[in-house]
């Protein structure tokens, strides 16, 4: 047998032919020499559910899910971003409308008041009429 007192972490040692001969002589017949390979091959085929020319296992529904999961996640994120952007835009449009356009009622009142600049009583009445409080009539 070879001198096996030295060993290297980085390289395989040379094969020890004498040891191999000894080990091989002790395991005659060689492992596998008595195996019926065709039977083993057939068993593997049967286990895999194979017939000649048949496709391998049919695809299951989760295979489709797994295949498309990346695209589904990306589409979901894109949809969420689009929804968030639309929501933000609609909020800011409302704010712009409120800031730039006076309420229709206020605009109408303003036009009436402007049409009668000297009618202080009318102005007072119109402004007072915006108070929607009902008060009890007390003649005293």
């Amino acid at each position: 047998m070879n001198d096996s007192s030295r060993w290297s972490l980085d390289q395989d040692p040379s094969r020890d032919d004498a040891l191999a001969r000894l080990l091989r002589a002790a395991e005659q017949p060689a492992p596998g020499s008595d195996v019926d390979w065709e039977r083993l091959h057939g068993a593997i085929r049967r286990g895999a559910g194979l017939r000649s020319g048949s496709p391998l296992a049919q695809r299951e529904w989760w295979d489709v899910v797994v295949q498309w999961r990346g695209l589904a996640v990306a589409a979901s994120v894109a949809a969420m971003l689009a929804a968030a952007a639309m929501l933000w835009r609609s909020d800011s449009s409302d704010t712009d409308l409120a800031l730039t356009d006076p309420a229709p009622e206020s605009a109408a009142l303003a036009r009436v008041v402007a049409a009668y600049p000297d009618e202080a009583v009318l102005t007072s009445m119109l402004q007072d009429s915006r108070d929607d409080e009902f008060t009890s009539w007390d003649p005293q």
């Binding site: 290297s8 395989d12 040379s14 004498a18 000894l22 286990g47 000649s52």
Partner: protein, 201 residues
Amino acid sequence: MSPGSAGPRVVGEGPPEPPDPLEAAAISRVQAGDAEAFDLIVRRYMRTAYAVAFRVLGHREDAEDVVQEAFLAALANIRTFDTSRRFGPWLYRIVVTRGLNFRKARSRRAAEPLEDAGVASADAGPAAAAERAGLKDTVTTALGRLPERQRMVVQLFELDGFSGAEIAAMLGVSPGTVRWYLHEARQALRRLLAHLQETAG
């Protein structure tokens, strides 16, 4: 890797060997559901997978069962296999893992020695047959005294022709660890079989 080729070989660390293009194509076809391609892969790797399983289990029928299981497990997970890598090391790792589990389950059922695989040839005459039986007993006993991993490593390296890196991939340890196991196993066998050295040489 060429299991069975017994020529001395020095293998250092390095990038893993690229797969054979034909093999990569066959694996891609298996991933697409091609049964004939799976057949090719089985035929190509069945014998080596059996050799590995036998080293783990030391029993013919158990090794056949584990090979069958390993191919079915490989097929079930074939879509996760990276075709830029070699199929063999992946399959052998499955074989070893399943083999060790099988062995553990078997040892719970009953402690069995390694199979008596050898049968002395009747044609060789009674004296030669007795001599061979004695040699076999001595070597089997010596191998049985080794820790399981050392025994597997020395057999896979010296008898089946795997490199340290290939055995490391199978066992899930570093190549350096495999080389240490090999060194220890050789030392022990050298000590235990010293009296056979001259007759074998």
